[in-house]
Amino acid sequence: MTLRIEIDNLAKHFGEIKAVDGVSFSVNKGEVLGFLGPNGAGKSTTMKMVTGFLTPTRGTVRVCGHDVLTDPIAVKANLGYLPEGAPAYADMTPDSFLKFIADIRGLSGAEKQRAVELAADRAQIKHVMFQPIETLSKGYKRRVGLAQAILHNPPVLILDEPTDGLDPNQKHEVRTLINDMAHDKAIIISTHILEEVHALCHRNVLIANGRIQFDGTPYELEAMSRYHNAVCLTVDNVADDSLAAFLNAQGYVAEIEALSGDRGFRVYPHKGQQITAELSQSIRDNGWQITSLHAENGRLDEVFRTITMGNQK
Protein backbone atom coordinates (compact mmCIF):
# COMPACT_ATOMS: atom_id res chain seq x y z
CA MET A 1 0.00 0.00 0.00
CA THR A 2 1.29 3.40 -0.98
CA LEU A 3 0.27 6.39 1.05
CA ARG A 4 -0.85 9.11 -1.34
CA ILE A 5 -2.64 11.66 0.83
CA GLU A 6 -1.70 12.40 4.43
CA ILE A 7 -3.72 14.94 6.35
CA ASP A 8 -2.64 15.72 9.88
CA ASN A 9 -4.49 17.86 12.40
CA LEU A 10 -5.75 20.17 9.67
CA ALA A 11 -7.70 23.24 10.72
CA LYS A 12 -9.14 26.34 9.11
CA HIS A 13 -10.64 29.14 11.13
CA PHE A 14 -12.48 32.06 9.59
CA GLY A 15 -12.34 34.55 12.43
CA GLU A 16 -14.33 32.96 15.25
CA ILE A 17 -15.77 30.25 13.03
CA LYS A 18 -13.89 26.96 13.09
CA ALA A 19 -14.82 25.62 9.67
CA VAL A 20 -12.39 22.73 10.00
CA ASP A 21 -11.04 21.91 13.42
CA GLY A 22 -8.33 19.28 13.65
CA VAL A 23 -8.98 16.76 10.88
CA SER A 24 -6.58 13.85 10.30
CA PHE A 25 -6.85 10.98 7.85
CA SER A 26 -4.92 9.42 5.02
CA VAL A 27 -5.73 7.78 1.71
CA ASN A 28 -3.83 4.96 0.01
CA LYS A 29 -3.38 4.12 -3.62
CA GLY A 30 -6.36 2.10 -4.81
CA GLU A 31 -8.67 3.59 -2.24
CA VAL A 32 -11.81 5.68 -2.81
CA LEU A 33 -12.55 7.71 0.26
CA GLY A 34 -16.08 9.05 0.61
CA PHE A 35 -16.13 12.33 2.44
CA LEU A 36 -19.57 12.66 4.02
CA GLY A 37 -21.24 15.31 6.06
CA PRO A 38 -24.05 17.83 6.03
CA ASN A 39 -23.73 21.09 4.13
CA GLY A 40 -21.38 23.45 5.89
CA ALA A 41 -19.63 20.64 7.75
CA GLY A 42 -16.22 21.57 6.35
CA LYS A 43 -15.94 19.10 3.46
CA SER A 44 -15.22 21.68 0.77
CA THR A 45 -12.96 23.70 3.04
CA THR A 46 -10.90 20.58 3.76
CA MET A 47 -10.65 19.78 0.05
CA LYS A 48 -9.61 23.35 -0.73
CA MET A 49 -6.77 23.02 1.75
CA VAL A 50 -5.67 19.66 0.33
CA THR A 51 -5.51 21.16 -3.16
CA GLY A 52 -3.59 24.20 -1.98
CA PHE A 53 -6.32 26.71 -2.73
CA LEU A 54 -6.79 27.65 0.93
CA THR A 55 -3.96 28.04 3.40
CA PRO A 56 -4.64 26.04 6.58
CA THR A 57 -4.74 27.79 9.95
CA ARG A 58 -2.74 24.84 11.26
CA GLY A 59 -1.88 21.28 10.35
CA THR A 60 -0.18 19.66 7.38
CA VAL A 61 -1.20 18.12 4.10
CA ARG A 62 1.09 15.88 2.09
CA VAL A 63 0.22 14.64 -1.38
CA CYS A 64 2.52 11.97 -2.85
CA GLY A 65 5.07 13.00 -0.24
CA HIS A 66 5.02 16.73 -1.08
CA ASP A 67 3.99 19.24 1.54
CA VAL A 68 1.30 21.59 0.24
CA LEU A 69 2.79 24.55 2.10
CA THR A 70 6.40 24.17 1.08
CA ASP A 71 5.94 22.67 -2.37
CA PRO A 72 2.48 23.63 -3.63
CA ILE A 73 3.38 23.29 -7.33
CA ALA A 74 4.46 19.64 -6.90
CA VAL A 75 1.25 18.91 -5.00
CA LYS A 76 -0.87 20.53 -7.69
CA ALA A 77 0.98 18.68 -10.44
CA ASN A 78 0.11 15.38 -8.75
CA LEU A 79 -3.56 15.94 -8.35
CA GLY A 80 -6.67 16.43 -10.40
CA TYR A 81 -9.34 18.55 -8.77
CA LEU A 82 -12.99 19.09 -9.50
CA PRO A 83 -13.99 22.13 -7.43
CA GLU A 84 -17.50 22.45 -6.05
CA GLY A 85 -19.87 23.57 -8.82
CA ALA A 86 -17.32 22.63 -11.51
CA PRO A 87 -16.21 26.15 -12.49
CA ALA A 88 -14.75 26.58 -15.97
CA TYR A 89 -14.09 29.37 -18.43
CA ALA A 90 -17.61 29.92 -19.74
CA ASP A 91 -16.69 31.48 -23.08
CA MET A 92 -14.34 28.65 -24.06
CA THR A 93 -15.39 25.42 -25.72
CA PRO A 94 -14.61 22.13 -23.93
CA ASP A 95 -12.05 21.48 -26.66
CA SER A 96 -10.07 24.69 -26.16
CA PHE A 97 -10.57 24.49 -22.39
CA LEU A 98 -9.14 20.97 -22.16
CA LYS A 99 -6.27 21.92 -24.46
CA PHE A 100 -5.45 24.86 -22.20
CA ILE A 101 -5.44 22.55 -19.17
CA ALA A 102 -3.23 20.09 -21.10
CA ASP A 103 -0.77 22.92 -21.91
CA ILE A 104 -0.54 23.95 -18.27
CA ARG A 105 -0.17 20.31 -17.27
CA GLY A 106 2.90 20.13 -19.48
CA LEU A 107 1.43 17.93 -22.21
CA SER A 108 2.20 18.67 -25.84
CA GLY A 109 1.92 17.30 -29.35
CA ALA A 110 0.44 13.84 -29.83
CA GLU A 111 0.45 13.22 -26.09
CA LYS A 112 -1.72 16.29 -25.53
CA GLN A 113 -4.11 15.27 -28.30
CA ARG A 114 -4.40 11.78 -26.86
CA ALA A 115 -4.98 13.05 -23.31
CA VAL A 116 -7.73 15.44 -24.42
CA GLU A 117 -9.45 12.74 -26.46
CA LEU A 118 -9.25 10.14 -23.72
CA ALA A 119 -10.55 12.52 -21.06
CA ALA A 120 -13.39 13.68 -23.32
CA ASP A 121 -14.21 10.08 -24.09
CA ARG A 122 -14.23 8.98 -20.48
CA ALA A 123 -16.31 11.95 -19.36
CA GLN A 124 -18.59 11.43 -22.40
CA ILE A 125 -18.48 14.97 -23.68
CA LYS A 126 -17.17 14.19 -27.17
CA HIS A 127 -20.27 15.46 -28.97
CA VAL A 128 -20.25 18.87 -27.23
CA MET A 129 -16.54 19.60 -27.67
CA PHE A 130 -17.10 22.65 -29.87
CA GLN A 131 -19.98 24.35 -28.08
CA PRO A 132 -19.23 27.20 -25.67
CA ILE A 133 -19.25 25.85 -22.11
CA GLU A 134 -21.76 28.52 -21.05
CA THR A 135 -24.38 26.97 -23.37
CA LEU A 136 -24.03 23.48 -21.87
CA SER A 137 -26.41 21.95 -19.34
CA LYS A 138 -25.41 21.52 -15.70
CA GLY A 139 -24.66 17.84 -16.25
CA TYR A 140 -22.33 18.52 -19.16
CA LYS A 141 -20.58 21.32 -17.30
CA ARG A 142 -19.94 18.91 -14.44
CA ARG A 143 -18.50 16.36 -16.87
CA VAL A 144 -16.29 18.99 -18.51
CA GLY A 145 -14.96 19.68 -15.02
CA LEU A 146 -14.43 15.96 -14.52
CA ALA A 147 -12.60 15.64 -17.84
CA GLN A 148 -10.36 18.51 -16.78
CA ALA A 149 -9.57 16.76 -13.48
CA ILE A 150 -8.61 13.40 -15.02
CA LEU A 151 -6.89 14.81 -18.11
CA HIS A 152 -3.29 14.27 -16.97
CA ASN A 153 -4.02 10.89 -15.37
CA PRO A 154 -3.04 12.14 -11.90
CA PRO A 155 -2.17 9.75 -9.06
CA VAL A 156 -4.55 11.66 -6.78
CA LEU A 157 -8.09 12.83 -7.53
CA ILE A 158 -10.09 15.22 -5.38
CA LEU A 159 -13.70 15.45 -6.54
CA ASP A 160 -16.10 17.80 -4.77
CA GLU A 161 -19.62 16.48 -5.36
CA PRO A 162 -18.89 14.91 -8.76
CA THR A 163 -22.44 13.63 -9.29
CA ASP A 164 -24.31 16.72 -8.12
CA GLY A 165 -26.82 17.86 -10.73
CA LEU A 166 -26.56 14.73 -12.86
CA ASP A 167 -29.53 12.56 -13.80
CA PRO A 168 -29.56 8.91 -12.64
CA ASN A 169 -27.98 7.64 -15.89
CA GLN A 170 -25.22 10.21 -15.77
CA LYS A 171 -24.63 9.47 -12.09
CA HIS A 172 -24.22 5.83 -12.95
CA GLU A 173 -21.73 6.64 -15.71
CA VAL A 174 -19.66 8.90 -13.47
CA ARG A 175 -19.61 6.22 -10.76
CA THR A 176 -18.51 3.62 -13.28
CA LEU A 177 -15.76 5.99 -14.42
CA ILE A 178 -14.56 6.54 -10.85
CA ASN A 179 -14.63 2.81 -10.13
CA ASP A 180 -12.62 2.16 -13.30
CA MET A 181 -9.94 4.60 -12.23
CA ALA A 182 -9.88 3.56 -8.59
CA HIS A 183 -7.28 0.79 -8.76
CA ASP A 184 -4.24 2.98 -9.44
CA LYS A 185 -5.30 6.24 -7.84
CA ALA A 186 -6.09 7.66 -4.46
CA ILE A 187 -9.48 9.35 -4.71
CA ILE A 188 -11.41 11.56 -2.34
CA ILE A 189 -14.99 12.32 -3.27
CA SER A 190 -17.35 14.40 -1.24
CA THR A 191 -21.01 13.67 -1.39
CA HIS A 192 -24.20 13.79 0.56
CA ILE A 193 -25.85 11.20 -1.62
CA LEU A 194 -25.78 8.21 0.68
CA GLU A 195 -26.32 5.58 -2.02
CA GLU A 196 -22.83 6.48 -3.25
CA VAL A 197 -21.35 5.17 -0.04
CA HIS A 198 -21.86 1.63 -1.31
CA ALA A 199 -21.63 2.34 -5.02
CA LEU A 200 -18.24 4.04 -4.80
CA CYS A 201 -16.45 4.15 -1.53
CA HIS A 202 -14.02 1.77 0.09
CA ARG A 203 -13.90 3.90 3.17
CA ASN A 204 -15.88 6.78 4.61
CA VAL A 205 -14.97 9.75 6.69
CA LEU A 206 -17.96 11.50 8.16
CA ILE A 207 -17.40 15.06 9.22
CA ALA A 208 -19.66 17.44 11.13
CA ASN A 209 -18.92 20.80 12.67
CA GLY A 210 -15.38 20.67 11.37
CA ARG A 211 -14.49 17.42 13.14
CA ILE A 212 -14.31 13.80 12.08
CA GLN A 213 -17.20 11.83 13.62
CA PHE A 214 -16.55 8.53 11.92
CA ASP A 215 -13.79 6.89 9.88
CA GLY A 216 -14.35 3.36 8.63
CA THR A 217 -15.75 1.10 5.92
CA PRO A 218 -19.28 1.49 4.56
CA TYR A 219 -20.15 -1.76 6.33
CA GLU A 220 -18.94 -0.42 9.67
CA LEU A 221 -20.93 2.73 9.06
CA GLU A 222 -24.09 0.70 8.49
CA ALA A 223 -23.39 -1.41 11.53
CA MET A 224 -23.82 1.69 13.66
CA SER A 225 -27.47 1.76 12.71
CA ARG A 226 -30.00 0.52 15.26
CA TYR A 227 -31.57 -1.35 12.35
CA HIS A 228 -28.39 -3.30 11.68
CA ASN A 229 -29.24 -7.05 11.62
CA ALA A 230 -32.80 -6.37 12.71
CA VAL A 231 -35.22 -8.92 11.25
CA CYS A 232 -38.61 -8.06 9.80
CA LEU A 233 -41.01 -10.94 9.78
CA THR A 234 -44.64 -11.73 9.24
CA VAL A 235 -46.12 -14.99 10.42
CA ASP A 236 -49.37 -16.43 9.16
CA ASN A 237 -51.17 -18.75 11.49
CA VAL A 238 -50.74 -17.10 14.89
CA ALA A 239 -52.29 -14.09 16.64
CA ASP A 240 -50.14 -10.98 16.91
CA ASP A 241 -50.11 -10.81 20.68
CA SER A 242 -49.11 -14.44 21.21
CA LEU A 243 -46.31 -14.03 18.63
CA ALA A 244 -45.19 -10.89 20.46
CA ALA A 245 -45.19 -12.69 23.77
CA PHE A 246 -43.20 -15.55 22.28
CA LEU A 247 -40.62 -13.22 20.68
CA ASN A 248 -40.14 -11.22 23.88
CA ALA A 249 -39.47 -14.43 25.76
CA GLN A 250 -36.50 -15.35 23.53
CA GLY A 251 -33.12 -14.58 25.06
CA TYR A 252 -31.55 -13.37 21.81
CA VAL A 253 -34.26 -10.73 21.23
CA ALA A 254 -33.49 -7.31 22.58
CA GLU A 255 -36.60 -5.49 21.48
CA ILE A 256 -39.56 -5.93 19.14
CA GLU A 257 -41.54 -3.37 17.23
CA ALA A 258 -44.82 -3.79 15.39
CA LEU A 259 -44.49 -2.96 11.70
CA SER A 260 -46.70 -0.09 10.77
CA GLY A 261 -49.49 -0.65 8.26
CA ASP A 262 -48.82 -4.34 8.06
CA ARG A 263 -48.95 -7.38 10.22
CA GLY A 264 -45.69 -8.54 11.62
CA PHE A 265 -42.77 -7.34 13.72
CA ARG A 266 -39.30 -5.95 13.50
CA VAL A 267 -37.10 -7.89 15.87
CA TYR A 268 -33.92 -6.26 17.14
CA PRO A 269 -31.02 -8.43 18.29
CA HIS A 270 -28.57 -7.53 21.02
CA LYS A 271 -25.87 -5.31 19.56
CA GLY A 272 -23.68 -6.98 16.97
CA GLN A 273 -25.51 -10.31 16.87
CA GLN A 274 -27.10 -12.24 14.01
CA ILE A 275 -30.46 -13.76 14.86
CA THR A 276 -32.04 -14.64 11.52
CA ALA A 277 -31.35 -18.38 11.57
CA GLU A 278 -32.20 -18.87 15.23
CA LEU A 279 -35.38 -16.86 14.93
CA SER A 280 -36.76 -18.62 11.89
CA GLN A 281 -35.93 -22.02 13.38
CA SER A 282 -37.70 -21.35 16.65
CA ILE A 283 -40.81 -20.03 14.91
CA ARG A 284 -41.01 -23.06 12.69
CA ASP A 285 -40.52 -25.29 15.72
CA ASN A 286 -43.82 -23.86 16.98
CA GLY A 287 -45.49 -24.97 13.78
CA TRP A 288 -46.07 -21.39 12.59
CA GLN A 289 -45.87 -20.38 8.97
CA ILE A 290 -43.39 -17.61 8.10
CA THR A 291 -44.68 -15.61 5.14
CA SER A 292 -41.84 -13.14 4.94
CA LEU A 293 -38.55 -12.63 6.66
CA HIS A 294 -35.63 -10.40 5.89
CA ALA A 295 -32.68 -9.02 7.80
CA GLU A 296 -31.81 -5.35 7.47
CA ASN A 297 -28.30 -4.09 6.77
CA GLY A 298 -28.78 -0.86 8.60
CA ARG A 299 -29.89 2.51 7.38
CA LEU A 300 -27.28 5.02 6.38
CA ASP A 301 -29.62 8.00 6.50
CA GLU A 302 -30.44 7.17 10.10
CA VAL A 303 -26.75 6.77 11.02
CA PHE A 304 -25.95 9.99 9.20
CA ARG A 305 -28.65 11.85 11.10
CA THR A 306 -27.71 10.37 14.47
CA ILE A 307 -24.05 11.20 14.08
CA THR A 308 -24.39 14.67 12.62
CA MET A 309 -27.42 15.87 14.60
CA GLY A 310 -26.39 14.23 17.86
CA ASN A 311 -23.28 16.33 17.83
CA GLN A 312 -25.02 19.64 17.44
CA LYS A 313 -26.70 19.54 20.82
Binding site: F53, P83, G85, P87, A88, Y89, D91, G106, P132
Partner: protein
Protein backbone atom coordinates in the same frame (compact mmCIF):
# COMPACT_ATOMS: atom_id res chain seq x y z
CA UNK B 1 9.12 31.23 -12.84
CA UNK B 2 7.86 29.02 -15.63
CA UNK B 3 7.77 31.02 -18.88
CA UNK B 4 5.62 28.41 -20.59
CA UNK B 5 2.86 28.84 -18.01
CA UNK B 6 2.91 32.61 -18.50
CA UNK B 7 2.67 32.05 -22.24
CA UNK B 8 -0.28 29.61 -22.00
CA UNK B 9 -2.19 31.85 -19.61
CA UNK B 10 -1.55 34.85 -21.83
CA UNK B 11 -2.69 32.96 -24.91
CA UNK B 12 -5.89 31.80 -23.24
CA UNK B 13 -6.68 35.28 -21.99
CA UNK B 14 -5.97 36.87 -25.36
CA UNK B 15 -8.23 34.38 -27.14
CA UNK B 16 -10.86 35.26 -24.56
CA UNK B 17 -10.90 38.87 -25.76
CA UNK B 18 -11.70 37.83 -29.29
CA UNK B 19 -14.23 35.16 -28.25
CA UNK B 20 -16.56 37.97 -27.19
CA UNK B 21 -17.35 41.36 -28.77
CA UNK B 22 -15.24 43.05 -26.07
CA UNK B 23 -12.18 43.20 -28.31
CA UNK B 24 -13.95 44.76 -31.28
CA UNK B 25 -15.93 47.24 -29.20
CA UNK B 26 -12.75 48.33 -27.48
CA UNK B 27 -10.66 48.68 -30.62
CA UNK B 28 -13.35 50.63 -32.47
CA UNK B 29 -14.01 52.94 -29.50
CA UNK B 30 -10.31 53.51 -29.08
CA UNK B 31 -9.77 54.37 -32.74
CA UNK B 32 -12.82 56.65 -32.84
CA UNK B 33 -11.76 58.47 -29.70
CA UNK B 34 -8.13 58.92 -30.73
CA UNK B 35 -9.12 60.00 -34.23
CA UNK B 36 -11.77 62.41 -33.06
CA UNK B 37 -9.62 64.03 -30.38
CA UNK B 38 -6.57 64.34 -32.61
CA UNK B 39 -8.46 66.39 -35.15
CA UNK B 40 -11.01 68.27 -33.07
CA UNK B 41 -9.44 68.61 -29.62
CA UNK B 42 -5.78 68.52 -30.62
CA UNK B 43 -6.28 70.74 -33.69
CA UNK B 44 -4.13 68.49 -35.83
CA UNK B 45 -4.55 70.60 -38.98
CA UNK B 46 -4.67 74.08 -37.47
CA UNK B 47 -1.32 73.60 -35.76
CA UNK B 48 0.26 73.24 -39.17
CA UNK B 49 3.04 71.01 -37.87
CA UNK B 50 3.95 67.58 -39.16
CA UNK B 51 3.97 65.64 -35.94
CA UNK B 52 1.62 63.51 -33.86
CA UNK B 53 1.82 65.51 -30.67
CA UNK B 54 -1.95 66.23 -30.63
CA UNK B 55 -2.51 62.50 -31.01
CA UNK B 56 -0.23 61.41 -28.18
CA UNK B 57 -1.08 64.18 -25.73
CA UNK B 58 -4.66 62.98 -25.58
CA UNK B 59 -3.72 59.37 -24.78
CA UNK B 60 -3.61 59.65 -20.98
CA UNK B 61 -7.24 60.82 -20.96
CA UNK B 62 -8.42 58.14 -23.34
CA UNK B 63 -6.61 55.48 -21.35
CA UNK B 64 -8.25 56.63 -18.12
CA UNK B 65 -11.61 55.87 -19.68
CA UNK B 66 -10.88 52.79 -21.76
CA UNK B 67 -8.15 50.84 -19.96
CA UNK B 68 -10.35 50.10 -16.92
CA UNK B 69 -12.83 48.54 -19.36
CA UNK B 70 -10.11 46.09 -20.40
CA UNK B 71 -8.64 45.45 -16.98
CA UNK B 72 -11.86 45.18 -14.98
CA UNK B 73 -12.56 41.62 -16.05
CA UNK B 74 -9.04 40.28 -15.54
CA UNK B 75 -9.57 39.02 -12.00
CA UNK B 76 -13.06 39.97 -10.88
CA UNK B 77 -14.67 37.73 -13.48
CA UNK B 78 -12.34 34.93 -12.46
CA UNK B 79 -13.41 35.38 -8.83
CA UNK B 80 -17.10 35.73 -9.59
CA UNK B 81 -17.34 32.62 -11.76
CA UNK B 82 -15.18 30.60 -9.37
CA UNK B 83 -12.73 29.69 -12.14
CA UNK B 84 -10.02 31.23 -9.96
CA UNK B 85 -10.23 28.06 -7.86
CA UNK B 86 -9.44 26.07 -10.96
CA UNK B 87 -6.60 28.35 -12.05
CA UNK B 88 -5.03 28.52 -8.60
CA UNK B 89 -5.09 24.74 -8.18
CA UNK B 90 -3.28 24.16 -11.46
CA UNK B 91 0.49 23.89 -11.14
CA UNK B 92 1.10 27.60 -11.77
CA UNK B 93 2.31 30.24 -9.34
CA UNK B 94 0.26 33.33 -8.55
CA UNK B 95 2.81 35.61 -10.16
CA UNK B 96 2.83 33.56 -13.37
CA UNK B 97 -0.93 33.97 -13.58
CA UNK B 98 -0.72 37.70 -12.78
CA UNK B 99 1.95 38.23 -15.41
CA UNK B 100 0.21 36.12 -18.05
CA UNK B 101 -3.04 38.00 -17.68
CA UNK B 102 -1.34 41.38 -17.61
CA UNK B 103 0.71 40.63 -20.73
CA UNK B 104 -2.42 39.55 -22.58
CA UNK B 105 -4.15 42.82 -21.76
CA UNK B 106 -1.02 44.79 -22.60
CA UNK B 107 -0.49 43.10 -25.95
CA UNK B 108 -4.12 43.65 -26.79
CA UNK B 109 -3.84 47.36 -25.98
CA UNK B 110 -0.65 47.47 -28.02
CA UNK B 111 -2.56 46.05 -30.96
CA UNK B 112 -5.26 48.71 -30.61
CA UNK B 113 -2.51 51.35 -30.45
CA UNK B 114 -0.82 50.03 -33.60
CA UNK B 115 -4.10 50.19 -35.47
CA UNK B 116 -3.68 53.97 -35.38
CA UNK B 117 -1.09 53.59 -38.14
CA UNK B 118 -3.24 55.38 -40.77
CA UNK B 119 -2.64 58.56 -38.79
CA UNK B 120 1.08 58.01 -39.05
CA UNK B 121 0.75 57.46 -42.81
CA UNK B 122 -1.37 60.61 -43.06
CA UNK B 123 1.19 62.79 -41.32
CA UNK B 124 3.93 61.38 -43.53
CA UNK B 125 1.84 62.08 -46.60
CA UNK B 126 1.09 65.66 -45.54
CA UNK B 127 4.57 66.61 -44.45
CA UNK B 128 7.88 65.20 -43.36
CA UNK B 129 7.66 64.49 -39.63
CA UNK B 130 10.47 63.22 -37.44
CA UNK B 131 9.53 59.54 -37.47
CA UNK B 132 11.92 58.84 -34.61
CA UNK B 133 9.81 61.09 -32.39
CA UNK B 134 6.66 59.31 -33.52
CA UNK B 135 8.10 55.88 -32.75
CA UNK B 136 9.19 57.13 -29.35
CA UNK B 137 5.67 58.44 -28.86
CA UNK B 138 4.16 55.06 -29.62
CA UNK B 139 6.63 53.42 -27.24
CA UNK B 140 5.86 55.92 -24.48
CA UNK B 141 2.14 55.49 -24.98
CA UNK B 142 2.50 51.72 -24.84
CA UNK B 143 4.49 51.97 -21.60
CA UNK B 144 1.91 54.28 -20.08
CA UNK B 145 -0.88 51.91 -21.10
CA UNK B 146 1.01 49.20 -19.20
CA UNK B 147 0.97 51.40 -16.12
CA UNK B 148 -2.77 51.94 -16.34
CA UNK B 149 -3.33 48.23 -16.97
CA UNK B 150 -1.25 47.19 -13.97
CA UNK B 151 -3.32 49.52 -11.77
CA UNK B 152 -6.55 48.15 -13.24
CA UNK B 153 -5.46 44.52 -12.90
CA UNK B 154 -4.65 44.99 -9.23
CA UNK B 155 -7.91 46.81 -8.55
CA UNK B 156 -9.94 44.13 -10.35
CA UNK B 157 -8.52 41.51 -7.98
CA UNK B 158 -10.05 43.33 -5.02
CA UNK B 159 -13.67 42.83 -6.09
CA UNK B 160 -15.96 40.30 -7.74
CA UNK B 161 -17.96 43.11 -9.29
CA UNK B 162 -16.73 44.37 -12.65
CA UNK B 163 -18.55 47.71 -12.36
CA UNK B 164 -16.86 48.43 -9.05
CA UNK B 165 -13.54 47.37 -10.57
CA UNK B 166 -14.12 49.77 -13.48
CA UNK B 167 -15.00 52.77 -11.31
CA UNK B 168 -12.21 52.19 -8.80
CA UNK B 169 -9.60 51.74 -11.54
CA UNK B 170 -10.80 54.91 -13.19
CA UNK B 171 -10.43 56.88 -9.97
CA UNK B 172 -6.98 55.51 -9.14
CA UNK B 173 -5.84 56.16 -12.73
CA UNK B 174 -7.22 59.67 -12.53
CA UNK B 175 -5.20 60.34 -9.39
CA UNK B 176 -2.04 59.14 -11.14
CA UNK B 177 -2.66 61.47 -14.06
CA UNK B 178 -4.04 64.51 -12.27
CA UNK B 179 -1.12 64.70 -9.87
CA UNK B 180 0.88 66.16 -12.74
CA UNK B 181 -1.80 68.47 -14.04
CA UNK B 182 -1.31 72.23 -13.79
CA UNK B 183 -4.44 73.04 -11.79
CA UNK B 184 -3.74 70.40 -9.20
CA UNK B 185 -0.11 71.40 -8.85
CA UNK B 186 -1.09 75.08 -8.55
CA UNK B 187 -3.40 74.15 -5.71
CA UNK B 188 -0.50 72.52 -3.84
CA UNK B 189 2.19 75.03 -4.77
CA UNK B 190 0.28 77.88 -3.05
CA UNK B 191 1.00 76.39 0.37
CA UNK B 192 3.06 73.20 0.17
CA UNK B 193 6.88 73.13 0.10
CA UNK B 194 8.40 72.85 -3.36
CA UNK B 195 9.83 69.42 -2.57
CA UNK B 196 6.34 68.05 -1.95
CA UNK B 197 4.96 69.64 -5.11
CA UNK B 198 7.80 68.10 -7.09
CA UNK B 199 7.18 64.74 -5.45
CA UNK B 200 3.50 64.86 -6.36
CA UNK B 201 4.32 65.92 -9.87
CA UNK B 202 6.94 63.21 -10.28
CA UNK B 203 4.32 60.61 -9.43
CA UNK B 204 2.23 61.57 -12.41
CA UNK B 205 1.97 59.64 -15.63
CA UNK B 206 1.66 63.00 -17.42
CA UNK B 207 5.04 64.32 -16.32
CA UNK B 208 6.84 61.19 -17.52
CA UNK B 209 4.80 60.63 -20.64
CA UNK B 210 5.05 64.22 -21.87
CA UNK B 211 8.80 64.02 -22.35
CA UNK B 212 8.67 60.66 -24.11
CA UNK B 213 5.87 61.75 -26.43
CA UNK B 214 8.04 64.69 -27.52
CA UNK B 215 10.77 62.25 -28.46
CA UNK B 216 12.96 62.66 -25.40
CA UNK B 217 13.95 59.26 -24.06
CA UNK B 218 15.09 59.70 -20.51
CA UNK B 219 16.10 56.57 -18.63
CA UNK B 220 14.31 57.91 -15.57
CA UNK B 221 10.97 58.04 -17.39
CA UNK B 222 11.35 54.48 -18.68
CA UNK B 223 12.34 53.30 -15.21
CA UNK B 224 9.37 55.14 -13.76
CA UNK B 225 6.86 53.27 -15.91
CA UNK B 226 8.66 49.96 -15.47
CA UNK B 227 8.57 50.33 -11.70
CA UNK B 228 4.93 51.47 -11.67
CA UNK B 229 4.03 48.32 -13.61
CA UNK B 230 6.09 46.02 -11.39
CA UNK B 231 4.90 47.51 -8.11
CA UNK B 232 1.25 47.24 -9.12
CA UNK B 233 1.72 43.68 -10.40
CA UNK B 234 3.32 42.63 -7.12
CA UNK B 235 0.41 44.24 -5.30
CA UNK B 236 -1.86 42.37 -7.69
CA UNK B 237 -0.28 39.02 -6.74
CA UNK B 238 -0.63 39.83 -3.04
CA UNK B 239 -4.29 40.79 -3.44
CA UNK B 240 -5.04 37.65 -5.46
CA UNK B 241 -3.42 35.50 -2.80
CA UNK B 242 -5.32 37.17 -0.01
CA UNK B 243 -8.73 37.38 -1.64
CA UNK B 244 -8.88 34.37 -3.99
CA UNK B 245 -11.06 32.22 -1.73
CA UNK B 246 -13.47 34.93 -0.54
Amino acid sequence: MNMKNIWFIMKRELNGYFATPVAYVFIISFLLLTGFSTFFVGNFFERGEADLYPFFSIHPWIYILLIPAISMRLWSEERKSGSIELLMTLPVSVFEAVLGKFLAAWLFTGLALLLNFPLWITVNYLGSPDNGVIITGFLGSFLMAGGFLAIGACVSATTKNQVIAFVLSLIVSLIFVLSGYGIVLDFFSSWAPTALVNAISSFSFLTHFDAISKGVIDMRDLLYFASVILVWLFANAIVVNARKAD
